[in-house]
Amino acid sequence: MDTILDALMLSNPNVRYVVFGSVLLGCAAAVVGAFTVLRKRSLVGDAVAHSVLPGVCGAFLVTQTKHPLALLIGAFISGWLSLVVIDFITRKTRVKEDSAIGIVLSVFFGAGILMLTAIQQTGSAAQSGLDKFLFGKAASMLLDDVMIFGGVAALLIAIVALFFKEFFLLSFDRDFARVIGLRVPLLDLLLSTMTVLAVVVGIQAVGVVLMAALLITPAAAARYWTERLGIMVVLAGLFGMMAGVTGAYISTAAPSMPTGPWIVVVTSVVFLLSVLFAPRRGVVAQAVRYKRNRTQITDENILKALYQMGESASEFTTVHSTEEIHGHRRMQLLTLQQGLARLRRQGYVEHHHRGWCLTSEGIERGKRVARLHRLWEVYLSRHLHLAPDHVHDSAESIEHILTPELEEQLASELNYPEVDPHNSPIPYRKKAKQKPETGTRNA
């Protein structure tokens, strides 16, 4: 990492501009891209990216220079035109949006390729280098380019910051935005313009072919980390900056490598890591939650079994062998043994030479599960009119999930029933407290 920084920061003042510029480009593209994604226009972004190519070539043909301002204007015009055409086809014909995107993308890009190859045939002096727009090459940016493209990028970021609230409403709930008096068409126009501009500056780093990734992938990755739009946009911007640095590094350190693809791969790795490790939505977090749920179900089922066995003997502290418990509650023997060991560590059961018995905490918890089970059965039979022989399965699951608040709400809504549909008594906590529990401690 040090060597990367060395290479980037120290070797050459020119490189510093490139890095600075690339970071801005990546950030702007990702931030604007976040709104593109939220408005379900990701692939339109892809089409716009491909469509700037004929603009770039056209600008070159007209001015015969590669002046950044000329290219920017050319790209902007053809990018915008592509948006208009997609919109026109979608609204005015029976051709659907996906096809309209595909048509515009391939025709504009085909035209760009045609112009590019035709220019190359003429062998005009400055032509070499236009094809860097295909796959991007940050390092070939001159100070002029950095100033202009970086300036546009900074402007885009500033506009997002300024209009954040409006854009938020627009992507979240258009109708509401309209109702509260936002100029929705105007904002749409602004966002579309910004998308085109983001593409135009972004292609300096990634090239037109893979520009879509710079719009979409950081936002998609950010989506996994948060439900809040503000944080998502900031995160996307950060990921975009990373992409920018990567691009600058690759294109300085390994000039023969295509820059755009490496940026895309790095961003995709960020995406993959997000899919795997993001809290809550990540694959790992989900697996952990799944495991935790399974464990909780096992534990509570064992406690409930012990509680029910005690219930029928009116004696909760009797020692039961593992086989006895297994006979009462079918589960895999290994799962049961592991569960008992875990419950013992947690202080819910005690191990004696002939088996297991509940501690007072264990009794409370087992009782709660039994109570929730039976309350839910009552609920199902009263409100869903289920026959008594149909209520058990659902209760087997719901008993593990009800919160204390829901429990209270459920009980009071049912008016504290005495028994469940199978006539088993419902053990409330209050009653339990009335009964002295001294005997349980020293069994």
């Binding site: 029976r94 749920n293 179900i297 609920y379 009119h385 149909h390 659902s394 699951s397 829901l406």
Partner: protein, 264 residues
Amino acid sequence: MIIHVENPALEIHNLTVSYHRKPVLWDIDLTVPQGTLAGIIGPNGAGKSTLIKSVMGLLPADSGYAQMFGEPLDRVRRRVSYVPQRESVDWDFPASALDVALMGRYARLGLFRRPRAADREMAMDCLKKVGMDGFAARQISQLSGGQQQRVFLARALAQDADLYLMDEPFAGIDAATEAAVIQLLTEMKQAGKTVIVVHHDLQSAADYFDWIVLLNMRLVASGPTDQIFTQELLERAYGGRLNVLSQVGELLQKQQFPARERKG
């Protein structure tokens, strides 16, 4: 009030269906007798479409199952016909009314087999039954909503099934068409077929159906119309959701908890 019958056309047993872990139907348990014209009724979002999709095996169930004529769907697929909501397809598809009706015959043709002349004739007959024979060659996007609905009906008729499940066949059609369709459904019932229809309009429900299923996330009532169509039961079905049930559903989704414990 839930009335069960012997030897039903459709039996649903303890069916729970979820989207993304959140149950939208809880433990539905009902039977519909053969030879009836039955209505499934409930407010928007009650889970009516979900119920018949799940019955047709288009959505997986968390628990429970459905049987037709005492058999699982796969054994009696040919005897069962499903009419989706009209909005579920893109009517710009390049096909004529006859092409769509002909799709009803596909169920009887094996893999790779082409429809024969007899199938075309049958499809044409079905278009005639719904009064659409004049439009057989019309592109389907150039039909009105009611006409499209009738083409869907013709397709169902072409299946020549014994049990029909229809999702809102009366949505967006005019009164005259509705009367014609209900006439047709009544005739089918009289021919011994069972027709189950998702319906929105309470006003007409009592006249149309002889069996009614009231639904709102859970089964509110199921039975003969005269017993089910009471103020009290209707209020219960339309009187909003059960608060606790909704909250538990959200909790299941938030915790990614299975609505049914897995066996084993």
